[in-house]
């Protein structure tokens, strides 16, 4: 399939990238090549085959219903952000 410029802009929006104009074209060409490659799956017959999403052999791993001590404290985690106030992460005004 052919990827158009507006498709790249849409994918950039979905991906939360504010791409520069010249980057749109460059990424567009790269993505076109990659999509061409992965589209060769078209020729593989998978009728009647169930999908596999994971190869872990076990299901439903249970743990005791207990409060577990976390590896990092609230203070340590808040220290990683640029700005915090009243034990919360501060971001610029949304509205």
């Amino acid at each position: 399939m052919e990827i158009k410029r507006e498709d790249i802009i849409h994918l950039a929006e979905l991906s939360d990238f504010s791409l520069a104009e010249e980057e749109i074209d460059k990424l567009g060409a790269d993505l076109q090549g990659i999509i061409k490659y992965i589209s060769q799956l078209d020729e593989l017959d998978v009728s009647g085959v169930e999908p596999t999403y994971q190869v872990f052999e076990m299901e439903n791993v249970w743990r005791p219903d207990e409060v577990v001590q976390q590896d990092a404290s609230r203070e340590q985690l808040l220290a990683l952000t640029k700005e915090s106030k009243d034990n919360q992460i501060k971001v610029p005004k949304v509205l």
């Binding site: 790269d30 990659i34 490659y37 992965i38």
Partner: protein, 459 residues
Amino acid sequence: MKTANKKVTAERLVRDALAKAKHFADYNIFTFIDEEGAIRRAREIDAKIARGEDAGRLAGVPYALKDNFISPRGETTASAHILEGFTSPVTATSVERLEAEGAIMIGRTNLDAFAHGSSTENSYFGATLNAYDRERVAGGSSGGSAVAVALDIVEFATGSDTGGSIRQPASFNGVYGLKPTYGAVSRYGVVAMASSLDCIGFFTKTPEDMDLLMSIAAGRDPKDMTTLPDYYGESKVGKAKKIGVIKDFDNGSVDSEIRGALKHKCDLLKKKGYEIVELTMPALKYALAAYYIIQPAEVASNLSRYDGVRYGFRSEKAKDLSSIYDKTRDEGFMPENKRRIMIGNFVLSSGFYDAYFLKAAKARTLIVQEYEKAFSQVDYILMPVSPNPAFKLGEKVNDPVAMYLEDVMSVSLNLAGVPGLAIPAGKSKTGLPLGLQLVGPRRSDKALIEFARELQEDD
């Protein structure tokens, strides 16, 4: 590997490693070196030894940590700009287990940003040079770790392997590299790339060292619900008889010297009384396409957390909440990170999901089944790791598909969850290391490591 004792102190081992790291500084192996911390830790080990206490099975052994493992020692960058300034308060389970046995991290190693790449050229900190040829790539994504072991700076290094990121750099630098069975080693504390494929493993100079590290690091971890119950230590290693080679796999793409190395090892095995069995695995031809759908889909999801809000880099151009996200992500990710995130969002988006993601998940089933069938016929499979030895710096970095083709023989193992051990297999005419991989059924890690000794030769 050399451990510390009363005569050879941990401080001596660590100082030697640090001196070698300095000597090879221009290979760009490390993103961070912790001289002070490593020496402090070595003195603690030496004090233990002096008191006659057990200092552990890795007492004073210097090692290098791929810079996508978190620990409070130094920033964890994953070689990406977007994690700039991030020092984790938390330690990865594998790091805890190694250090509980006395191992000493001397530094963090370079990788393709977020482990996206097969050459370590996609690093925000620049490429790492190959241990055997400074004009060539280290391989990737765990390039720094492979070169640190190959240049004998450290006894071992950690790595992560989502589609070949341990095995390919191991083979490009002539060392052993293990991608264990999915779930063998805890992923807790390792920067997630594609969660259904990511495996934690090691680089070593011998199979014996690999066995020791696995006996320490493998096993159930309550912090990672996808770890398998402890099986490594109890693995029964039966006598192998039949070794498979895949007949229809390489599409003629494999370098003649790597084919020669495979043939040579098969001849060696025949001489030792093993039977070589040709296998037909037609779905493997589609493994790379399936992988470059499934992996980016999981990448797009895992990397959505990097938004400049909670930790790491934040763009100075950000004025409001929405631009914190999109300017930070635009400036903070490398081009290859962006390609994978966008492809991931493409294959998952409505209208394309069935044709790409679902189809790839079905192809994955066929690949799992082909391996199951293969291991009903043979004990192990021997095959190339990559189609070529280390390539020139800059040769493929601007051509994403050419770079992806590097992974053509390594990704199917991750899709199937089976273990693979990259082993050295001689040198090319120009002196570049050649590598092969031994592949076994799930949970055969220990047997693979043992069997690798059968393939050892002086080269």
